[in-house]
Assembly symmetry: C2
Homo-oligomer: 411 residues x 2
């Protein structure tokens, strides 16, 4: 939680965080600012002190909505700095940041940098700034940053926002199920009122509308992947693909609060009308593993143990797993789970990057998403729910929704 930051920073001897970029779709910034229309900003978080937000004059009112102490970048008169820097934008940019950090009282110590921003510009800027400020050590934490560690557990207000996004998402999922169940079937395909095949593109366009009605953004799109496409975990589903009766469709949806706040992440696999026998068999295995793992979640246990356990359970049922071959494309091919919050994938890690610090703790919110994939047999199957590890030890599904494989047709 955010309240853990000072001690996490202390443990790594970090004096400050410097967070760059917008306060939109930029999780490190939004963690402190909330979603705000503040662009190309800089936030200085000194250990144990209130954050200071640098923003442009044009966005001063938006910056004020963050409730943070703010300073104007515009007041530094960039044009004057630019002229004095021989009209070299990199030197001018570095000099501007030197002045800003100095005014923030940051002239020495260890400073970790964050924020979604162009990789090259930032590399240039930080390299230039490092030369101008030799008493500061700028560090780029990789994968296990203090910010991701803090964010790995959520406070009650964050839980409520995640719950809200997830509930809104399952409402849309229910709308999709209802709409598709009312379609007619013809020659083994779902068809619209004109008798034409109902396509993946149509489903996605309805999903985007229904998400927009609820004030959710969908920056990464939606997976609605029938048949063989569902056999590759991140295949999105071809726009023109039809929906066949009996064939599994992997429906994985991960929208976010407007402007880039807290994410949902939710998957069901559906067969319309009926399930083919191989689909049903695969479903039974995935559901068994899903329910077994759900029943075994405990506080203060290693995330990697659940990945191992999932591999064990799938292997017992005769499926190849990533534990046996990290490059396998058949069977169980990915990680069981991931943290969910201001990024759709965040700590704790369950897969290849999991460390001894990746534990289920009170306040963890993680997906649980076992799946099986046989692309050459035209089959993919995944079930995913988001779970909140409550302080009382209970693993609570934040937005419960039926697990059914078959969506019966109503007509």
């Amino acid at each position: 939680m955010k309240s853990d930051l000072p001690s996490l920073m202390q443990a790594r001897n970090l004096d400050a965080l410097l967070i760059l970029g917008d306060a939109l779709h930029n999780s490190s910034m939004v963690y402190f600012t909330g979603v705000a229309h503040v662009t190309d900003a800089a936030l200085v978080v000194k250990r144990g002190q209130a954050p200071l937000l640098f923003c442009h004059n044009m966005e001063r009112d938006e910056a004020a909505t963050t409730g943070l102490k703010t300073r104007s970048i515009t007041d530094y008169n960039y044009m004057g700095i630019y002229e004095k820097s021989g009209k070299d934008p990199l030197r001018a940019g570095a000099r501007l940041y030197q002045l800003m950090l100095t005014d923030a009282g940051l002239t020495s110590g260890k400073v970790a940098v964050y924020g979604q921003r162009d990789a090259g510009e930032t590399f240039g800027l930080l390299s230039g700034l490092q030369e101008l400020m030799p008493n500061i050590e700028f560090v780029g934490e990789y994968a296990d940053s203090v910010l991701l560690q803090a964010r790995a557990t959520k406070d009650p207000a964050e839980i409520e926002r995640l719950r809200h996004t997830l509930r809104q998402t399952t409402e849309v999922v229910a709308q999709v199920a209802d709409h598709l169940s009312r379609l007619k079937a013809k020659d083994g395909l779902l068809v619209d009122s004109d008798g034409r095949p109902f396509t993946v593109a149509k489903v996605k366009s309805m999903i985007n509308l229904w998400l927009a009605e609820r004030g959710l953004d969908n920056p990464h799109g939606t997976i609605f992947a029938p048949g063989a496409e569902g056999g590759v975990p991140h295949s999105m589903g071809s726009p023109d693909a039809p929906i066949r009766l009996g064939e599994p469709v992997v429906f994985d949806i991960f929208p976010v609060e407007e402007g880039g706040g807290y994410f949902a992440d939710f998957t069901r696999t559906w067969c319309f009308g009926h399930a083919s026998e191989p689909a049903q068999k695969l479903y039974d295995d995935v559901r068994f593993v899903y329910e077994t793992i759900m029943s075994e979640l405990r506080l203060d246990t290693l995330c990697s143990d659940y990945q191992n356990r999932t591999c064990e359970l799938f292997e017992q049922r005769g499926h190849p797993t990533v534990r046996q071959d990290p490059t396998t494309k058949n069977g169980y091919v990915h990680g069981l789970a991931h943290g969910l919050g201001l990024d759709v994938h965040e700590r704790p890690n369950f897969g290849r990057n999991a460390t001894a610090e990746d534990l289920l703790r009170a306040g963890s919110v993680v997906t649980i998403e076992p799946g099986l994939y046989y692309p050459e047999r035209g089959l993919g199957m995944r079930i995913e729910d988001a779970v909140y590890m409550r302080p009382d030890g209970k693993a609570e599904i934040l937005a419960p929704y039926p697990l059914d494989l078959v969506i019966p047709l109503k007509s």
Copy 2:
């Protein structure tokens, strides 16, 4: 244009570009890949050669839609690398990239880095990679990168995509005008059928729906800022704000193709029912400057000259400008224009960052957006259209739309 890249790279002695991140909402990557659900990827563009895309196995089908040559990151067996790197994720990440670049035939020379990605992670990764590959000089180009230079002029296919996004956007603008013009007025406010004030939040929720219907994303939100809020250029408009008859509302809308392709950027300022006298006066000045500048746009002229000319015209009409005082909050307070493409703001620059290379060229697409701001008087006014500089020298507005200030009420 993309075809200029080899010579632009040659001029800076760049042997390759390394582009990091997703193929969604990541302009540098999307320039080569198109919008594709490929995440955490790496693209190597060697000078004069076809790009090579590194992606994860789970996204191989999505990567194939880019039409580019691809390689699997998964096949490098990160877990093995991680173990050999003493379970240090930064060392493992740098080593993984060293292997990938080596396989791409990139072991020496000058390499510019791009892509939306976490600033700190990338700084760490590149610093680590630089140590492992001392024969490569990794550079972070700042502001005037070769990629932004190439993107500063558009080819015909890009023009058509920009035109399409802009036309879809003006259709939504027309829907908003039509909907609001049919509302009733009560006590000087627009009201809905229940007699309650129609708020900015309701307008924005309609806008998001109508954008979603057209397959457009709206990652940065919409400015719909009445009265004093419109007096600060980037104020978005408070959700609960009502819409007063006669009071100007700045409506600035900048959606993008689904997944983050080409942007629109479009502004009108509207008064419902009638315009107050101060609003009309301000509008007349802004419209005069808009039309004067539009009539003066010529190929192969310096962008900064138009910014100067705009200041001159506004000053002649008695308005303070950023030319007189770069920190002014009254009068003309921003740049006239910016390039428009895969980012909502890109080269050429017109404002503080404009250089001798910022020219209007055949293939430039730029906004023209003069505005005046008097926040203490509750007034803001801006008109913005996107202009394509055609090879025949004509400045073509890509999606013409009426400039009217007053939206008469129909009831």
